[in-house]
Amino acid sequence: MSLAELICPAGTPAALRTAVDAGADAVYCGFQDATNARNFPGLNFTPDELAEAVAYAHARGTKLLLALNTYPPAGKVDLWRQAADTGARLGVDSFIVADMGVADYIARTYPGIRLHLSVQAAASSPEAIRYYCENFGVKRVVLPRILTIPEIRQIRREIPCEIETFIFGNHGLMVEGRCSLTNYLTGQSTNMDGVCSPASDVEYVRDADGSMSSQLAGFTIDRFGPEEKTGYPTICKGRYAAPHRPEGYYAFEEPISLNLSRLLPDLIEAGVHAFKIEGRQRSKSYVRGVVRAFRAAVDDIKAGREANIADLIALTEGQKQTQGAFETKKWR
């Protein structure tokens, strides 16, 4: 059986303590800058906060993973190198990287610290994953959310590193690590600035009938009826009119969350080493609820008991959930 480590999100020091106390095996977090893909206002850690977080986590047997999972634009790589230097000095257990240049710097400078390949790298074939392992010493790959469980099982047989899969949270697929939709409207890059739909460009407008429009950079990307559940204001989950669908439809993705709680035994059997919970931008309440639920489920499965899966629908985007491609390629 695989280790089935539970990898949990933290956007603030308080959320990190919550995740650790709720049973995380490892917590991932980032600095307050463009070096990670949740570079949101008021979120993330200063170096001093990260030092305290490392101490808190290690004192309780929990690992701390530092996300450096964005792509440095030309001439700005020093920010990523400095973040790696700071993380190494503070004693993080692993770096989560996407860019080959960042991976190369860490592999050469800090060969004793584990490298995990971020989902942002979009490595989904054994050949691509082996390339990262052979050239940068990557120890774990976070797989894109586009693979079925049989495909994951096959990949596991052909790669020399551990596998981590998302099990809960945001289900924004596209071509992971290469999504540029936000750039078209805001000029800011998900991949290089770490912001998808920057809050400064988002506006919610309530209409007289109780409907609500979500706008990004002045463009309406969805309109919800008075009783309709909402999602994040991202272009990939916007609703658009097209000649063949004049009523408007979700052209790319729907507001929906991934929830693989019922597939955990199959994922473990397929050789998945670690389960990732998405949501560094979410609250302590989310972290506490989701981590506790999956801690209990994983412990039950490892003990040979049937997992008592908690109902997490209230925490999902649009209050809808899916098993996505993990169940079938035809999930839409």
Partner: protein, 175 residues
């Protein structure tokens, strides 16, 4: 700041007078609470960044008044205001009172409340996100802390509030 247009606020007979009286009664307590929180949780101001001087309107929909917050550490403002004279805020957060309180205390998740339409935000979204993240990084319960400042009467008021909203005050276990 300019007052909210009266045309957007519909008052029932006598509601305006009740709101003004409630605001007068509450104001000393609100001032004490916000000063205490600021003194005990100075790190929250860093997460607010440039929005320390933003005017937030926190609008508990079932109460006869709203709350005006300007989290400027040099000149803190936290006051109850009748809706008809509420300031034009940079950002507005609207929901049931206990939901708002539980969001501050991290008993509820803000994104989930937004997805379910129980929480509405308008105005400067970045300001709202920063305030949410700043408050979420506070340990402990702000409601407990504030009520404890007023001794047994304060705790009694909180207990009574929670009895009035039994479902909204349970820590959500999602199980």
């Amino acid at each position: 700041m300019t007052p909210t247009s009266e045309s957007t606020v519909r008052l029932r007979p006598g509601e305006g007078a009740i709101a003004r009286l409630a605001c007068l009664v509450l104001q000393p307590a609100l001032t004490r609470v916000v000063r205490r929180v600021a003194a005990r949780h100075p790190s929250l101001f860093a997460r607010l960044g440039p929005h320390q001087t933003t005017d937030f309107l926190i609008d508990p929909v079932e109460l006869p008044f709203a709350l005006h917050l300007r989290p400027d550490p040099q000149a803190l403002v936290f006051r109850a205001v009748p809706r008809e004279s509420a300031p034009q805020a940079g950002a507005t957060i609207r929901g049931r009172f206990l939901l708002l309180l539980e969001l501050i205390d991290a008993e509820q998740d803000g994104d989930a409340a937004f997805f379910s339409r129980d929480l509405e935000v308008s105005g400067d979204t970045e300001a709202v996100v920063r305030l949410r993240n700043a408050l979420d990084d506070m340990d402990g319960s702000l409601a407990e802390e504030a009520s404890a400042m007023f001794g047994a009467p304060g705790r009694a008021v909180l207990a009574r509030l929670r009895r009035a909203y039994p479902d909204a005050t349970k820590p959500r276990e999602y199980a």
